[in-house]
């Protein structure tokens, strides 16, 4: 029922989406904090880098969640599709939307 190819269809965007959010929330934050501590990055640059990374990461998170849901519902047997949407896609899309919404709100765009 679910071949490796079928799995790949929904798994790949989900992995990219989750990965983008993890990079945003952990790696970028750590790099910026470390750069501040050693004085190699000024505040204005840090703001620009972090805003850009937040937006890119969040957009990828939303896209990843949506694509994962699309391929899961289209390709997997219903119980598996529901599980993928509920466990992977919906939380990923929700968190990524929150990050994107918060970032745009911080910039005064929302």
């Amino acid at each position: 029922m679910t071949s490796p190819t079928t799995h790949g269809r929904w798994l790949a965007p989900a992995v990219v989406g989750v990965g983008a959010l993890v990079v945003v929330t952990l790696v970028v934050r750590s790099v910026i904090s470390a750069a501040f501590v050693v004085g190699s990055m000024d505040e204005a640059t840090a703001v620009r880098v972090s805003v850009a990374s937040l937006i890119v990461g969040a957009v990828l998170g939303v896209v990843g969640g949506v694509l994962a849901a699309y391929f899961a519902v289209r390709r997997l047997p219903t119980p598996y599709a529901v599980a993928v949407v509920v466990i992977v896609s919906a939380p990923l899309t929700l968190v990524a939307t929150g990050v994107l919404y918060g970032t745009l709100g911080c910039l005064g765009w929302l």
């Binding site: 501040f36 289209r74 939307t97 919404y101 911080c106 005064g108």
Partner: protein
């Protein structure tokens, strides 16, 4: 139902789920955390207003986050914005005080945002000439318990002062407050609405960290109080 019809139905369902996910997420985020505001732009009036903000020496991530949130909002609503971040080596006193003086000379009103833990910036500003401090309009202070400084700020010349009652999670209030203030809400309304929104969030998010019993104390301590002219808005004098 034929196999091809089932495939079409499946595609439609997949499309529906995929489109519904971000919409549902947006509804949840916007209704649970904060609704969108219409972006504001500086008025074309002759009035010139300035904002001076200072962040204390905290961890880099907090400095970065405060600046990320504060600066774009202030720049969208004020003709002149000065933003300072303290470091262990430089408390930025000279630059901060000079910025208030220059802003007062250049603009009709100056709003001050003290984004710091319990602080004594009032002592720095008290050294300025009365003609300068008379231009102070709103002073907002995130410091824990700094509502006690209200009388002194008003006596210095500020039209209004907003400070927190006790041990405070001021950033939660501040996020709601700044957005409403720069969007043109009356000061009293902005404070009241922001207190309400902050309390809602704290009652949902804080219990795992402070326990059910600690939430009431946290909400009470985080409450912001207004002294002075509550009818002020960002476009008024």
């Amino acid at each position: 139902m034929s196999t091809s019809e089932a495939q079409v139905d499946r595609r439609r369902l997949a499309l529906f789920v995929a489109l519904s996910l971000p919409l549902a997420s947006l509804l949840v985020v916007a209704s649970a955390i904060e609704r969108p505001f219409v972006p504001v732009r500086r008025s074309a009036s002759n009035e010139r207003r300035a904002a001076v903000a200072i962040r204390d020496d905290v961890i880099p991530f907090q400095k970065w986050g405060t600046r990320l949130f504060t600066l774009p909002s202030l720049e969208s609503a004020y003709e002149r914005v000065s933003y300072f971040t303290q470091t262990a080596a430089d408390d930025r006193r000279a630059a901060f005080v000079e910025a208030i003086r220059v802003s007062a000379n250049a603009c009709d009103v100056v709003d001050v945002f003290l984004l710091a833990h319990g602080n004594r910036f009032v002592d720095w500003v008290a050294a300025l000439e009365p003609a300068v401090t008379a231009k102070l309009r709103l002073v907002y202070d995130t410091g824990c318990g700094d509502v006690a400084q209200a009388e002194r700020w008003i006596a210095l010349g500020a039209d209004a002062y907003v400070g927190h009652v006790g041990l405070s999670t001021s950033p939660v209030f501040y996020v709601y407050f700044l957005r409403r203030w720069v969007a043109g809400r009356q000061l009293a309304t902005a404070v009241q609405d922001s207190n309400g929104a902050a309390e809602t969030i704290l009652r949902v998010a804080a219990p795992p960290f402070v326990g059910r019993d600690g939430v009431d104390a946290l909400v009470a301590g985080s409450r912001a109080e207004l002294a002075g002219r509550g009818e002020l808005s960002i476009g008024s004098r």
